[in-house]
């Protein structure tokens, strides 16, 4: 078996602002070459913290307390800032959550699309522009010439997200971090964007870490997934297996919470209290064991 492209091991993080509350509890996961790995969980589960840790953009109130993030054999967490900057954009790229704020409002699309190409791929201004045109065509934007000359506020949300996807995949990275890329979009556009990510990922053999709170979205696009609850990886495995035969009570609850047209009476159920109690007990037991190990 080929080694995974990204291997996160026992990643732990705490929030300094919130009385050192743990955000990640020894999370391990790996993303293989050409694989889409989903990270699902409710808000506050620590999904975004994983994405930010990989990209080196951890906010100041969060501290990584342990673990490693190995990307092709190098630990990103212990890398000097300059070396990390070299890897980012070249080998790892981000598709951000909110396309309305992730593009610079003062700069035209062409400037923003060609920045990375010139910096990371060493293209000339002319080459970068031609490449940007090709990229916009690849993300199925009609009339790319006009889009290139536009400012972000002149484009729709779906268009902006396509531009951001073009920017990310255009750098031909080995790993794309997609941080809730469809959350800010309406449902019809969501579907197109998911297809697009999958298409580009398959075409370029890119590995994708796909972060989402939406099991429905993750089911459509991911090969494997990790279910996160309060910073703990509750269940991991191939998407179909996890979704068709969930082993963990939380995954079952999460599946039940997903509204389904064929089961209208069970839609939008909150997680049952007994499941929550069991989960809290599990987390508490983990924390106790960790404290024990820390002291011993």
């Amino acid at each position: 078996m080929t080694p995974p492209r990204l291997a996160i091991e026992a990643l732990s993080a705490i929030s300094l602002r919130d009385g050192d509350r743990p955000i990640l509890r020894r999370v391990s996961l790996s993303v293989g070459v050409g694989e889409v790995h989903g990270v699902v969980g409710e808000s506050g589960a620590g999904k975004s913290t994983i994405a930010k840790a990989i990209l080196g953009i951890i906010p100041s109130q969060v501290r990584i307390t342990g673990g490693t993030i190995n990307f092709e054999g190098q630990n990103l967490l212990s890398m000097p800032a300059k070396a990390l900057r070299a890897v980012l954009g070249r080998d790892i790229a981000l598709v951000p959550q909110d396309p309305s704020t992730a593009l610079n409002p003062s700069r035209r699309i062409d400037a923003q699309l060609t920045d990375g190409l010139r910096l990371k791929r060493g293209l000339s201004a002319r080459e970068a522009r031609l490449r940007a045109l090709a990229l916009l065509e690849e993300v199925q934007i009609r009339d790319p010439e006009r889009v290139l000359k536009s400012y972000p506020h002149q484009l729709s949300g779906g268009m902006r997200q396509r531009v951001l996807i073009a920017a990310a995949f255009g750098l031909e990275p080995k790993l794309v971090i997609a941080d809730e890329p469809t959350t800010a979009l309406d449902v019809t556009v969501q579907k197109q964007i998911l297809r697009l990510i999958r298409l580009l990922q398959e075409r370029h053999g890119t590995s994708v870490l796909f972060v989402s709170h939406d099991l429905g979205v993750v089911a459509k696009i991911c090969d494997r997934l990790t279910v996160l609850y309060m910073g703990r990886a509750m269940e991991q495995g191939a998407t179909e297996e996890v979704l068709s035969a969930p082993r963990h009570a939380y995954t079952k609850a999460l599946l039940a919470a997903n509204p389904r047209y064929d089961r209208p009476d069970t839609g939008l159920e909150p997680t049952p209290p007994e499941v929550v109690a069991a989960l809290r007990a599990e987390i508490a037991a983990f924390d106790a064991a960790a404290a024990e190990a820390g002291h011993g």
Partner: protein, 298 residues
């Protein structure tokens, strides 16, 4: 995984977006006020060719001649003469030289120094921010008029002292505004996105953040030009600007004030020029801020 072939394409919204220049030319404030400023610049540069007379030539026989159209006016003296028989129109035209020099040089330097410090404070934060912000706080505690009079007293009168006084006092204005703007922009997602491509900090500051601070900065700069014109006039009025053989609007106002009952036009002409110039700078700043801001743009 279901298989599918994406056929849908998305069309973009609206017609070809106008360029920055096109947008500016469509704004009546920018065109009107900007046109007036350009007219003043031409006037200042071509003053020796445009002015009907030597602004310093005295003619005591023709002292306090009223403007054309009034009784006892003299042909050739469109705006009349002052107490020494000098042509008021020519003096107002030559007065634009000092006013505009101060406006552009003093406001430009204050903007450069203030916004550089503001960008650094807002972007780097922490110790640098604390240092610069405290400096601004202390600086602003000095009464500005006193500070400028003190400065001119130390440096001596002259154009360079007036410019120095304005720069020394007004850089804090730019520093504060730019710092706040920069801090706001630095937290935006697009800055984070730029970091994830691996951009270095100077590139992020000047390529990503500065363009978003620029609209506010340009508006503030034009506003400051108006302020500089007024400050120069005040310093001229109290005799702390250039020597009295150079015509300035402030100096003319001071002279006109003494004979306002016999010859009101000596006061009114430079006052009107001063007023129109400051209004033009303010309107231009307003128009620029509106049409340069990509979000406010209609």
């Amino acid at each position: 995984m279901e298989h599918w072939s994406p056929k849908q394409t998305i069309t973009d919204a609206g017609p070809q977006p106008p360029t920055a220049v096109e947008r500016l030319l469509r704004d009546p404030k920018v065109v009107g006020a900007g046109g007036f400023i350009v007219f003043l610049i031409v006037l200042a540069l071509a003053a020796p060719l445009v002015a009907p007379m030597d602004p310093l030539a005295q003619n005591l026989v023709l002292a306090t001649v009223p403007p054309a159209g009034f009784a006892e006016s003299e042909p050739g003296y469109l705006l009349g003469t002052d107490g020494l028989g000098r042509d008021v129109l020519s003096r107002v035209i030559f007065g634009t030289q000092v006013s505009l020099t101060v406006a552009f040089v003093a406001a430009g330097l204050a903007c450069l120094i203030g916004s550089l410090l503001g960008l650094l404070a807002g972007f780097l934060g922490g110790f640098v921010d604390a240092l610069i912000s405290r400096l601004v706080d202390i600086w602003m505690a000095f009464p500005p008029v006193l500070l400028s009079i003190l400065l001119v007293a130390v440096l001596g009168t002259g154009l360079h002292s007036v410019i120095a006084a304005i720069v020394v006092i007004d850089w804090t204005r730019f520093c504060r505004v730019v710092r706040t703007e920069t801090m706001g922009q630095a937290q935006m997602d697009y800055v984070v996105a730029a970091r994830t491509i691996g951009f270095a900090r100077p590139a992020i500051l000047f390529r990503e953040i500065l363009p978003n601070v620029a609209p506010v900065l340009i508006a503030l700069l034009t506003l400051e030009m108006g302020i500089a014109v007024v400050v120069e006039a005040i310093l001229s009025f109290v005799g702390l600007s250039v020597s009295s053989d150079t015509p300035t609007w402030g100096g003319m106002i001071a002279e006109g004030r003494q004979i306002v009952h016999e010859a009101w036009w000596v006061l009114a002409a430079p006052l009107a020029a001063l007023f129109a110039t400051v209004v033009a700078f303010n309107q231009l700043g307003d128009g620029l801020a509106r049409s340069l801001d990509p979000v406010l743009r209609r």
